[in-house]
Symmetry: C2
Subunit: 244 residues, 2 copies
């Protein structure tokens, strides 16, 4: 038995999220179906973490155990030949038997894409958050330093979670305006449920003038989801990288 | 009765092409349904031309006649509020009663996007042609001058057409390689059925070394569809602009 680590990419648009659910099309379900067919016995896949319905990935990491003797590079071809076209395996390697895609993850990088055009772009509807309102990027950049660092992020965690320790460290947040597209890139040691989407929703409200940049400090110290802004929609979110 | 001219954009992925067909979801069908609801009587929409299933548009032009007294800018909002999210009206204006979206079109610009990455990008599967093989851009650039100008393009026309005059003028073809993405932009006074896709398929074969750049001259003079390369897939094609 050997452990394989893969980096995968997917378009979240047509999935009910990453994690297997009965009678739903999920990323995990599709990959396990292919592996089970290859192995002629059930194979379970472990990811670095789940992503919600509509959320995309360019750098999700998974692992699974195999009894098949296939060179690492051939795993990429073999899986891509059988996977649906909205999932790709970008790389595969044999890992230590102790490697665990979820428990060994040291951090993650997420990207959030906002389309500021006045009229929605039909080709971006599944790949960005259409926000056709004024945004002052300087206001967002003023608010970012309050978020970076180690904090209890309870204010930025969806209510339906069973995680107790809500302290996380954000290493950096980059804010990039290119034409009408605003991209926020978050890097940190871990993210609570919906944390990137609530941070983004709050930063957008600050950029639009609904809240002051300095309010970010109070929102964090409130440790109350009600203090923060709206949850930005799933389709603008991309899991870019998992750090090990 | 007043004539309205609109520039529209759509994601072709979920449409059976532009033109109305019984029991199929089409761009024309969706727009006519919205206009018919607004006018409480059937309204017919005329476009600059059809696009096939899977083909996208950033600058399709349509016209229709209305008895409603709505300012031009409000037409954009009114239609976008009712249209499905894979169609957007980008602009609307009142036109001369004699304006005709199809007959008055003096030319068109199309863009064709090729993804050269070795492993397919799941997020681009509906928006580019995945060609994971070697391409030498210089070879494509050598072939382009043979195409530009006025020629009988019978070799680049799908068999199922009833157009008799196959002489068209190509003003320019730009070839741009950005990272792993190759974009071909075609501008001309008119294009035959599948012409951009067959030109692209042939240029790709030249870029890959399957054909010589100089062969393009012979392919054109053959006036035979069999002489040209494969038809590149619909999902890489974008109608960018219609000239009047």
């Amino acid at each position: 038995m050997q452990r394989i680590k893969c980096i995968i990419s997917y378009d979240g648009s047509l999935f009910s999220g990453y994690q297997v659910q009965v009678d739903k099309r999920t990323v995990q379900g599709e990959i396990e179906a292919v592996l089970t067919k290859m192995h002629k016995t059930a194979v379970k896949v472990i990811a670095s973490g789940r992503t919600d319905a509509g959320v995309h990935a360019y750098g999700q990491v998974i692992h699974f155990d195999t009894t098949l003797d296939i060179p690492a590079a051939r795993w990429v071809q073999a899986l891509n030949a059988m996977l649906p076209h909205d999932i790709s395996v970008l790389s595969a390697e044999y890992a230590e038997p102790s490697f665990h895609a979820r428990y060994d993850a040291k951090g993650k990088k997420y990207r959030y894409v906002i389309d500021l055009r006045k009229i929605r772009d039909p080709l971006k509807r599944n790949y960005s958050f259409h926000y056709p309102h004024d945004i002052n990027v300087e206001r967002i950049e003023k608010a970012i330093p309050y978020i970076v660092g180690t904090h209890d992020f309870s204010s930025f965690c969806a209510a339906n979670t069973d995680v107790l320790d809500k302290v996380r460290t954000i290493y950096s947040i980059q804010c990039l305006l290119e034409g009408n597209q605003l991209t926020l890139t978050y890097s940190g040691n871990g993210f609570l449920y919906n944390m990137v989407r609530i941070l983004t929703g709050t930063l957008v409200e600050i950029g639009n003038g609904k809240r002051k940049p300095e309010e970010m400090k109070d929102i964090i110290s409130a440790m109350d989801r009600g203090a923060a802004g709206k949850t930005a929609p799933a389709q603008g979110l991309y899991l870019q990288e998992v750090y090990y």
